[in-house]
């Protein structure tokens, strides 16, 4: 303890070991994920994102929607996500393999959006963003200041969000 070098070496290991074991090995396990077919000869998923959705994601990030919305469905034993209809199966790492920016989120003030494009909702998203009070939502921040082009991209992005396809790691129940 009296020796600075011992102290620094210990602290260095305390940072480097978890980094190597958690992050680098996580990267080597998941880094190679790409599109794959869930069933023999099936189509490859996840689908490539349309250009408009990529623009929409930038809007989503820049407005900080991730502060209140997650994009991940937990397995049945962990919370009620599937029972609540947030998805038909748990999210798996492969679902995010093509995304340049992964917006899993940490907080759900609003509902999860991982399958927003695949599930039904009573709330019209255009109204929700421009005039939340008349959209039927309990409450929502207003995004009236967002211009029409950006809003179109944002909505296209939201509608592109879906994880309802079979994946090698998560088969769909028949």
């Amino acid at each position: 303890m009296k020796n600075l070098n011992t102290l620094l070496a210990g602290v260095f290991l305390a940072v480097a070991l978890p980094f190597g074991a958690l992050i680098l090995s996580g990267q080597s396990q998941l880094g190679g994920l790409g599109r794959a077919a869930g069933e023999e000869g099936g189509a490859l998923f996840p689908s490539r994102e349309p250009g408009l959705a990529i623009q929409g994601r930038a809007v989503y990030v820049s407005l900080g929607c991730v502060n209140c919305h997650t994009q991940q469905v937990r397995p049945a034993g962990q919370g009620s996500d599937i029972a609540r209809g947030y998805g038909v199966r748990p999210s798996v790492a492969r679902d995010y393999a093509l995304q340049s920016q992964v917006l899993l989120g940490e907080r759900r003030l609003g509902p999860d959006l991982a399958n927003y494009g695949a599930r039904t909702s009573q709330i019209n998203v255009e109204t929700l963003l421009t005039d939340p009070a008349s959209s039927g939502a309990v409450w929502h921040p207003s995004y009236r200041f967002v211009d029409a082009a950006q809003r179109t991209a944002l909505v296209a992005y939201l509608k592109s969000l879906r994880q309802d396809y079979p994946s090698p790691e998560a088969k769909l129940k028949k």
């Binding site: 602290v11 940072v15 998941l30 994920l33 900080g64 962990q78």
Partner: protein
């Protein structure tokens, strides 16, 4: 007990009451005050944003709502960044430097370098915050700044935050104290963590969910290894110092230090239980979070053991510094215990994605770290400036407004989060009803945000008044 003491005036005084400041402290004055004043200004800014954010909760129109700059997502990001990087870092640059200079009798000859670092840090921060308001953020909480800010902050950290290590290396005697280990650990760990996280999340983005993994690792390290370790250093210093006693079971402190550093770095993925990352990573995080109970218990023995003997609590309550510091110590224990318990799968399934995590985080960064910094300031500033705190009333306002404001918010986050989790777990409860139940806590959060702002303004008025009134440094050299 002196007259001042009973009137609630903080007791920190120039040594021997002769108005002279020691050589060590005189050499720290410039950098310390730069860091401290910046910290308080950022704290005020963060508190104002906190009020705006809280007032906007539950309303779609609200103040400033039709303006992109003040959309809730950006306010939330800017508020957290200002609090963490503006207040938290500047405050601990000041406090950690003072502590290790004091313990190592370090006369700071290159103060200008630290000041340069401080200026660079604050300029980079200002730029980063402006970009966040303009919507140019990354989407990763606490790594929001566009990527060109990262390297500047890292270099600024080395200039501003590395001096405690130098002070430790140059200390005259071989004997060391727990406070020194914790500060050296914090000052060395953070730049490593920050650079690695920047690299993986922003510069050379890891693929897919590994970004989220790296992010969780970063946040856990930032909270524990910078805020937690720095706060512990101050607790281990001020408690025995002011009580003039050795800590109960102090021989266990090295175990607390090493277990704290060895486990903290692994706890990140505990925040990802149920997420699409490999199970073994989640489990490692959970185990590490549970192991953190070891340092938490040892700290509790050291700190609460001391406070519980020989009327320690009563004395702590009557001393301004210790009142804040022991508040922080209790918050640390609570955060540690709850953090361990709620990392387990079944518990985390219940509270995940609710405000519970905010409550835990705030227990550490506000309840513990910020309160400890406040307490330390009441001790240090009079010694550095050779002046007394101008107003005892403002000290009371500061303590009660921050303590009550914080307690109200923490109850809202933890109890509200728990309740929210219970409702969400039952799919028969409609989301709108979950939301209505959650909204009933918003009023508490609004009142709390205003209280915290009031407390911080009181603190700022008192501290700035004192710094401005202080005699010129030239008259105080030996």
């Amino acid at each position: 007990m002196t007259q001042d003491n009973r009137s609630g005036r903080p007791q920190g005084r120039p040594p021997e009451g002769d108005g002279r400041v020691s050589r060590v402290e005189a050499s720290l004055r410039g950098p310390f005050l730069l860091f401290f004043v910046s910290a308080v200004i950022w704290l005020l800014a963060a508190s104002v944003l906190g009020v705006i954010a809280a007032l906007g909760l539950g309303s779609s129109v609200g103040v400033l709502r039709d303006c992109a700059w003040f959309t809730p997502g950006r306010i939330a990001a800017a508020q957290q960044d200002l609090f963490i990087y503006g207040w938290g870092f500047n405050a601990f640059f000041a406090l950690n430097l003072w502590l290790l200079a004091q313990l190592g009798r370090f006369e700071f000859r290159n103060g200008w370098l630290a000041q340069l670092g401080g200026v660079a840090w604050n300029l980079a921060l200002t730029y980063g915050i402006a970009r966040v308001f303009a919507g140019d953020m990354t989407g990763y909480r606490l790594l929001d700044f566009p990527r060109e800010v990262g390297p500047v902050l890292a270099v600024a950290f080395l200039l501003a935050g590395f001096w405690p290590i130098v002070a430790f290396a140059r200390r005259p005697s071989g004997h060391t104290f727990a406070s020194q280990w914790f500060v050296v650990g914090a000052s060395f760990a953070f730049p490593l963590v920050y650079l690695l996280a920047q690299l993986l999340v922003l510069w050379q983005p890891a693929s897919g969910v590994v970004q989220a993994l790296a992010h969780s690792w970063f946040v856990a390290n930032l909270l524990q290894l910078w805020f937690g370790a720095s706060a512990l250093a101050a607790i281990y210093y001020f408690l025995p110092k002011v009580l003039e006693r050795t800590l109960t079971g102090y021989y266990l402190a090295p175990v607390a230090f090493w277990t704290f550093f060895l486990f903290a770095g692994w706890t990140g993925p505990a925040a990802l239980v149920g997420s699409p990352v490999p199970l073994w990573l989640q489990s490692t995080g959970v185990v590490a979070a549970a192991m953190m109970i070891i340092p938490v218990i040892i700290v509790a023995i050291n700190v609460h053991g001391t406070l519980c003997s020989q009327g320690g609590w009563a004395r702590a309550w009557n001393d301004t510094t210790l009142r804040f510091v022991s508040f922080g110590a209790v918050a640390f224990t609570l955060a540690g215990v709850l953090g361990g318990v709620f990392a387990f799968r079944s518990m985390s399934a219940l509270v995940r994605f609710t405000s519970f995590a905010t409550g835990l985080e705030q227990l550490l960064v506000y309840g513990c770290a910020s309160m400890v910094v406040f307490g330390a300031t009441y001790f240090i500033l009079p010694r550095l400036t050779g002046a007394l705190w101008p107003s005892a009333k403002l000290v009371h306002v500061h303590f009660w407004a921050t303590a009550l404001g914080f307690l109200a918010a923490v109850v809202a986050w933890l109890v509200g989060g728990w309740q929210n989790g219970q409702l969400l777990a039952n799919p028969a409860v409609a989301y709108a009803d979950v939301l209505r139940a959650e909204s009933s806590w918003f009023l508490v959060l609004k009142i709390s945000a205003v209280l915290l702002l009031v407390g911080h303004v009181a603190f700022a008025l008192n501290a700035f008044g004192m710094i401005l009134k202080a005699p010129a440094p030239a008259g105080r050299h030996d």
